[in-house]
Symmetry: C2
């Protein structure tokens, strides 16, 4: 046993070393997007690529393979969900994926991504899909080679999806998403047809940036973000970066003529940040100190942004405070009108600007198309036509050009096939978790109305964050809610909330 303990300790130390290197690269990446002077870009690329290469080199060290092989024969893996078994299982998962990809493919992917991203940006600007087409074809071919390296049972899509949502397969999540789509599209249609519309001009008034920053920061602190262990800065593309224990950084951008963009953006990134801050420090650097998946991460951001942050009870507390902070914009505005305005639903072309209902339709569209790409059911050249056809089918409108159609997102140019569904999985998880939290904490809405959010935060800490990667997402949903993932809680939530708002 002493031998295994030694080996396990060595394995974790090696894993922590890799993560220490990664955390340095994390800070460099944060700085690149916040404060780095322009001319530092080339040096920064050298620094980050050096650290990434070093972390990879340390992680694919054959010694890690030896340790894993030994430990997988040991009593440490006996109990499936014990600390030791979980760490060994997840390090094995990542190790196998890392060693299976030959260096030559890693380099070709990295190079192609950089090139394709540049071409994509030009093609989008020039409304020139044919310019991007050869790169999209190349990316799909490389992603298929990547899937072959990883290996898969039925569907190459599964091998890539596993990078973002470990253990998920097209079969399992495809069914949930298809069922969800079936129930969702009629809701969207009903909302579009409803004569009731919010007065969104309320939130498109002057909201001075400094006061938005104060208000957003106070809300982030109120829901539980620890600013002694984190920061909020400004970037063009908001993000959350959990750099290391005690150091979680979120960003936003302010629009002086819009209340919601920064505010809900801050709640969203705060949700990610609270997850990162809720991971157990003593497990940092090992899978038990890491988040489950992109989908579970997104469930935390979406919960605070939408299920909490766009709820009536949340605004019972915050609306009077918003009126004090922004008297010019909000004096005399009725609560119900404000509440309706921040819950405006309408079809739109651009995913990142979509509301909480239609957002999922955007995702399902992409999910169906990228799966069809990988399985050869659709050729990349058919993308614009297929996109617009599906869009018309889902939303009743057709993009006027590819910039507001199939060229809007950066993901495919980066080779991130399998990434999109995690956004909607996040929404599905969040609704199912939130329904359970509401069962467990009877007076949650009353608490929110009093400005009390820490009991929900604690519930999330205990039930989700502190497990780290103990359970894969699919299992975690069952452990937390007692049921497998279902689209029903999200549909119920949307029907109830928007049914009332839109009188449907």
């Amino acid at each position: 046993m002493a031998k295994y303990d030694e080996q396990y300790k060595e394995l974790l130390n090696r894993c922590k070393e890799v993560n220490t290197i990664g955390s340095c690269a994390g800070l460099l990446g944060w700085d690149e997007r916040t404060y780095m002077p322009r001319a530092g870009a080339a040096s920064r690329a050298t620094q980050i690529s050096y650290l990434s290469g070093l972390a990879h080199e340390k992680f694919v060290d054959p010694r890690i393979g030896e340790l894993l092989a030994e430990l997988e024969q040991s009593p440490l893996v006996k109990e499936q969900f014990s600390d030791t078994a979980v760490n060994i299982r997840e390090i094995r998962h990542d190790y196998d994926k890392s060693v299976k990809v030959p260096k030559e493919l890693v380099e070709e992917l990295s190079h192609t991504r950089t090139m394709a991203q540049g071409i994509w940006a030009e093609a989008r600007k020039e409304l020139n899909f044919p310019k991007f087409l050869p790169w999209l074809e190349k990316i799909i071919k490389l992603d298929l080679r990547l899937a072959d390296c990883y290996g898969y049972k039925k569907d190459p899509y599964d091998a890539l999806l596993d990078n973002y949502e470990p253990g998920a397969t097209f079969e399992t999540i495809g069914k949930v998403l298809a069922d969800f789509r079936k129930d969702l599209v009629p809701i969207v249609a009903a909302i579009i047809d409803s004569p009731k519309k919010p007065n969104i001009s309320i939130i498109e008034r002057d909201y001075p940036v400094e006061r938005q920053a104060m208000f957003g920061q106070s809300a982030a602190a109120a829901i539980g973000f620890d600013f002694s262990a984190g920061r909020l800065d400004i970037t063009t593309h908001p993000f959350c970066s959990g750099i290391a224990p005690g150091d979680t950084r979120i960003t936003t951008r302010y629009n002086p003529r819009h209340f919601g963009q920064a505010f809900f953006g801050i709640l969203h990134e705060t949700g990610h940040g609270i997850y990162d801050q809720g991971l157990k420090h003593e497990h940092w650097g090992a899978p038990l100190g890491d988040s489950v998946s992109l989908g579970i991460h997104e469930s935390q951001s979406r919960m605070w942004e939408n299920l909490v942050g766009r709820s009536r009870s949340f605004w019972r507390h915050f609306f009077p405070r918003a009126q004090q902070m922004f008297p010019e914009a909000l004096q005399g505005v009725k609560f119900d009108d404000f509440y309706f305005a921040i819950n405006d639903v309408r079809p739109s072309y651009i995913r990142v600007e979509a509301d909480e209902v239609t957002y999922n339709v955007h995702i399902i569209l992409r999910f169906e198309i990228e799966h069809a790409f990988l399985n050869g059911e659709v050729k990349p050249s058919e993308l614009p036509g297929l996109w617009n056809e599906k869009f018309k089918q889902f939303f009743g409108i057709t993009p006027r050009n590819d910039a507001e159609g199939c060229l809007q997102d950066v993901h495919w140019s980066m080779g991130y096939i399998g990434y999109f569904p995690t956004y909607t999985l996040g929404n599905l998880y969040s609704a199912q978790f939130f329904a359970k939290a509401k069962q467990d904490i009877k007076d949650l809405d009353e608490q929110f109305a009093r400005g009390e959010f820490l009991q929900l935060k604690k519930w999330l800490n205990t039930n989700i964050h502190e497990h780290g990667k103990r359970y894969r997402a699919e299992k975690l949903v069952e452990v937390v809610t007692g049921k497998p993932l279902s689209h029903q809680p999200l549909i119920d939530y949307l029907k109830s909330k928007f049914g009332e708002l839109y009188g449907i």
Copy 2:
């Protein structure tokens, strides 16, 4: 030859790798002092110590020793000051120092420094020298062991001084500093005795911080700091960090009731920054792309801060602009009164608050004491008495306690014996360089008065910065000015400037 070229290339690549790691640590260190959330301190310590350890490990790789041994037999070292010979010479210098210190001593020093620094801070606060004494004794013993590891010809002090001012010895600089002291002390005495005194209340009025920031930033840009390749931030202890090519960061702190602290601080750090920005990018990571020494670095900061920044001609341009920026404080103030106020000279207890004349006396006092420590001429326990005695001798006043006496500086608690003289060396170099620049550029003062500083900056780029470490400081002074280092240019400058101001 091809073999040597290969070996030289490998040597530089290894050197660049070490410096890439160092540059990552540099950014982490900058962030630690600017934006890092409080709770991130422990993680940051882990990250930086990991990277430092890694850089050390890579640098003491025996392969570097092999390459050096081969290359030192090659034609690449034939021309003493050729690119190849210089890089090989300086890598050898640093390599030898690195491999000579056993890991056990490195660790003991590192640990003792951390402890001693904490104890020093407490002792200073409590005015409790005896509390610090055992740590000072330990530090001196460890520094002596360090000197023994490095080796030296005559004086253990030389081995440590070489860490900060490579190639300098007590014999060479001790003589210059002693001569300097002899001429300086009477000047200080005469200024103290002079009935003429500036009205310093002029610069101790309300100077709003935001406007100080704008004004300081515009001055930094005017003298040549490239803000597209650098930043200015706020920290408690101002510094300059040349992180990587294209990324040089300076900091300052603002006192809303003092004009000069931030402004001259910014000019000072800008001087360091201009040096870093002036190093040749193509040599980055090799000695030819690195600064000569702390003394030469300080010569650049001091030149812009004092010789330029406190000159009449500089303020011919900037004073009307300062009056516009700070009308409440400066309207109606006469040019000569302002100029005298920013050149106030008076004895003071605290080095970091001292003016450009008395500053050097503070340094010489420390230099004499620390040299006596190492040579056993003075026991650490005798420090407070000796300090106060010398202070009285130099300034005619006695510190009221050790916080404004021998406990004021952090350096000795960090083991930085040999560091202090580089401050005054910087002043001496700066005066000698500046005298030469004035010879080479006849109308320098007229240029300054017109707000033109870029010809001086270019002169510094060409004559000093772009050489990197081609010449050691001693040699560089000769190459640039045609003469060995002398205290005369600084004495001449001080006599002329302050003679006029104080009528002596």
